[in-house]
């Protein structure tokens, strides 16, 4: 795996979480924050279980479950036979019977064998039973590209899940959000598809994980499910983004600032539920918007965002809402992915095309 060349996301979570602290703060990676969130959730609730492929002794291929088996035992964090539908279906039964399973799909494209269980049961069971059976399952998926991965290791599969009523779909972009959103996902009574941008696993922020834990356990972390956040304030146009594309959008906004344009960046965090309010408030204010996402653009989450913004903010718009997305092609091989991924230049081009009067 090659380290991301993107600028790491820098502390763009809710400022409200930041408890003033006189001592210098330690740093953590996105991956370590996820690991801490899992450990803290397992510590605070015996019903929380973690299972999947290679998540036990190895600690997961990305080490997100590192140390959990040693700390909580083989009954709480364990390897399953190699079968994704089996993992998902067993999680359904365990959730029916009092557990809160967190499952890891090893990679985005290897979650597909579990798709029938996700669509036909995880998403529908609560509705089918008129809420009698809730399924507090978290499906963790190392997700999307930008890591020089070979085929089947870089898919942006969010639209499949977002299109399925009943699934909460989250994609954190910062270290703080990784921690808080995973804790919130595990605590949610609803099934959550938790998309972990692989290229951000090694990104760092100045955060103290113990402090994040105190903040969350103390009920001081503002809700993130269904709440987008303004990651960078601006006045001239809004970039709407989530997960792996947020750092790219922020880099584009920084570059635009040098050219004298003030660009606001929205980090959705939560694809479903979607925060129409925060998005529309921003676009009505700036009058211009570009949606940035890595997935192929056709029939995508980006398409949905454009449609929603256009329906709700039409009279505030000075230009059509544009999209910078992946092309409508299978995810390219490592030497070609840079031509595919939304880049700072492509975003700046789109911003330039927003029918500026000057």
């Amino acid at each position: 795996m090659t380290q991301t060349t993107e600028a790491p996301a820098r502390g763009i979570g809710d400022q409200a979480d930041a408890v003033a602290s006189p001592v210098p703060r330690s740093t953590s990676t996105f991956a370590k924050a996820l690991n801490a969130a899992l450990a803290d959730a397992m510590e605070s609730d015996a019903a929380v279980l973690m299972f999947g492929e290679d998540v036990g002794r190895l600690g997961g291929v990305f080490r997100i479950t590192d140390g959990l088996t040693a700390r909580f035992g083989e009954e709480r964090c364990f390897d399953t036979p190699l079968a994704e539908a089996g993992i998902m279906g067993m999680a359904v039964g365990m959730a029916m019977n009092g557990m809160k399973p967190v499952v890891e799909m090893q990679f985005d494209a290897f979650a597909y064998p579990a798709f029938e269980q996700v669509v036909s049961h995880v998403a529908k069971m609560p509705n089918r039973t008129r809420g009698k059976v809730r399924l507090p399952i978290v499906i963790r998926i190392p997700y999307a590209g930008g890591i020089g991965g070979v085929e089947h290791h870089c898919d942006s599969s969010e639209a499949y899940y977002a299109h399925t009523p009943g699934l909460t779909v989250l994609a954190p972009a910062t270290v703080r959000d990784a921690y808080f959103m995973l804790r919130e996902a595990i605590a949610s009574p609803d099934p959550v598809v938790f998309l972990e941008p692989k290229k951000l696993y090694w990104s760092k922020e100045e955060v103290d994980l113990a402090e994040l834990r105190r903040t969350y356990d103390g009920g001081q972390a503002p809700r993130r499910i269904g709440r987008a956040v303004v990651a960078r304030a601006g006045t001239d146009a809004t970039l709407i983004s989530y997960g792996p594309s947020v750092p790219t959008a922020l880099a584009a906004a920084a570059a635009a600032a040098e050219e004298g344009r003030s660009i606001e960046v929205i980090d959705l965090r939560s694809i479903v539920p979607f925060d129409d309010e925060t998005v529309c408030e921003s676009v009505r204010r700036t009058g211009r918007a570009v949606v940035v996402a890595e997935a192929p653009g056709f029939a995508s989450v980006a398409s949905e965002i454009v449609a929603r913004v256009q329906e709700r903010c039409f009279h505030s718009l000075a230009a059509p809402v544009l999209r910078v997305t992946g092309f409508d092609i299978p995810y390219p091989s490592p030497k070609l992915e840079r031509f595919y991924l939304p880049s700072v230049d492509r975003i700046l081009d789109a911003v330039d095309n927003l029918q500026w009067e000057d």
Binding site: G89, M99, R128, P165, F274, E311, F314
Partner: protein, 402 residues
């Protein structure tokens, strides 16, 4: 815990007595050469070394459930013909499997049924009208799975087998003595989830009894097009669990074989696979035309093997079942049928507002908007006949008005 022990795997489902040669562990996992039978189609007891015949009083009490089961199938078919239900996958001819699957379980146990297992669900104690909600068409499920520990009737084939494994796994982790009985058809054994469920159950050594009702057809496709395995029960050895085959029209054999598998699971012996040989006497559902793929003669051959007839002959032969007793059972069955008939002849009020209620534990802002849209449409008046708003508007989002 996550690594299964080999403990208990060497024993057969029944007692291992009667086998002269020292069986290897492999042999012990194989099903018997012929399906286990305790009462033959003529109503005579046939001895089996491993499986005891349940006592007469027990058989008599369960026989009443068989009679009721047949009556429920007949009544449900009639209600479909009358347009009161959308469809009914009948278990006519399979009632012994249906009843046995329900009565071998204790209250703390779980049953995982399919669309065809309505009689099993009712036998377990679920209100028939709640069960038939699905097929009447007013909601996708009508009963609370926790009330009688009966999962929703699964339609996507074999998917429920994995849920059964999960329920059993959770119970095992908490040290509860719960056993889970999971049902599927012969066709469903070709699905990937069947394989994954059996393998997970075996690896995690969880208390699940898998019951396949081999009724020889998956809609139109005969079993020989699904598999060339010696039997479906033989598949068990590939997972390292015992397999057994049983005459699926012999209530006594089913009670004995399933009962011993349930006991074994409860005692920590792990999962097992039981194949019940039976026959789907009616079409797949009322919407199916079975004459396109099988002859009347094929079906006719199974008439003398009827599970109810067989048990009746046996019980009458022992004078356990009398004319008075039969009349009383018929009255009971009629009462169940009448309750179903009356219930389904009463129109239920469906509540369109409920459509948005259970998608998430809390409505999203999008669902609140859509619920409000539908509420407004209904307040304005709709073309009830077509279910569409009179003005033809559909799913319109509130546009941005200047």
């Amino acid at each position: 815990m996550s690594t299964a022990t080999n403990e208990g795997r060497g024993s057969m489902i029944g007692a291992a007595a009667g086998n002269a040669a020292q069986p290897t562990a492999d042999h012990a996992l194989l099903p018997s050469a012929q399906p286990v039978q305790l009462i033959d189609p003529e109503g005579h007891h046939t001895h089996d070394d491993r499986y005891p015949l349940p006592d007469g009083q027990k058989l008599l009490s369960v026989y009443g459930r068989l009679v009721a089961g047949r009556r429920i199938n007949d009544q449900a078919n009639a209600l479909v013909r009358q347009g009161r239900m959308a469809v009914y996958p009948s278990s006519h001819g399979q009632e012994a499997c249906q009843v046995a699957a329900a009565v071998v379980l204790d209250d703390q146990d779980w049953l995982f049924p399919t669309y065809r297992d309505t009689v099993a669900v009712i036998t377990r104690g679920v209100d028939p009208l709640e069960v038939l909600t699905l097929l009447r068409g007013d909601w996708h499920g009508g009963y609370d799975p926790y009330e009688h520990r009966v999962a929703t009737q699964a339609t996507p084939l074999a998917t429920q087998l994995l849920h059964a494994v999960g329920v059993a796994h959770a119970a095992k982790l908490r040290g509860e003595p719960t056993v889970v009985l999971a049902m599927c058809g012969d066709g469903a054994t070709s699905e990937g989830d069947f394989h994954e469920a059996l393998n997970f159950a075996a690896v995690f050594h969880v208390p699940v009894v898998f019951l396949i009702q081999n009724n020889e057809f998956a809609i139109s496709v005969p079993l020989k097009s699904q598999t060339v395995a010696p039997s479906l029960a033989h598949k068990a050895i590939g997972y390292g669990m015992p397999g057994e085959r049983v005459d699926g029209n012999d209530l006594a054999a089913l009670l004995s074989v399933l009962g011993s598998a349930v006991d074994r699971a409860r005692d920590g012996g792990g999962p097992s696979l039981i194949e019940a040989h039976t026959y789907r006497m009616q079409a797949h559902t009322n919407a199916d035309d079975a004459t396109r793929y099988r002859s009347a003669d094929d079906v006719e051959r199974w008439v003398p093997k009827d599970p109810i007839l067989r048990m009746r002959t046996y019980l009458r032969g022992l004078n356990l079942l009398t004319d008075d007793g039969e009349r009383a059972l018929a009255v009971e069955a009629d009462a169940i049928a009448a309750a179903i008939r009356n219930g389904l002849n009463t129109e239920v009020d469906v509540n369109p507002g409920e459509l948005f209620e259970y998608v998430f534990s809390e409505k999203t802002s999008q669902l609140r908007e859509q619920a409000e849209q539908l509420r407004e449409e209904l307040a304005r008046g709709t073309d009830a006949e077509h279910g569409a708003p009179i003005d033809g508007a559909t799913n319109q989002t509130k546009g941005d008005r200047p």
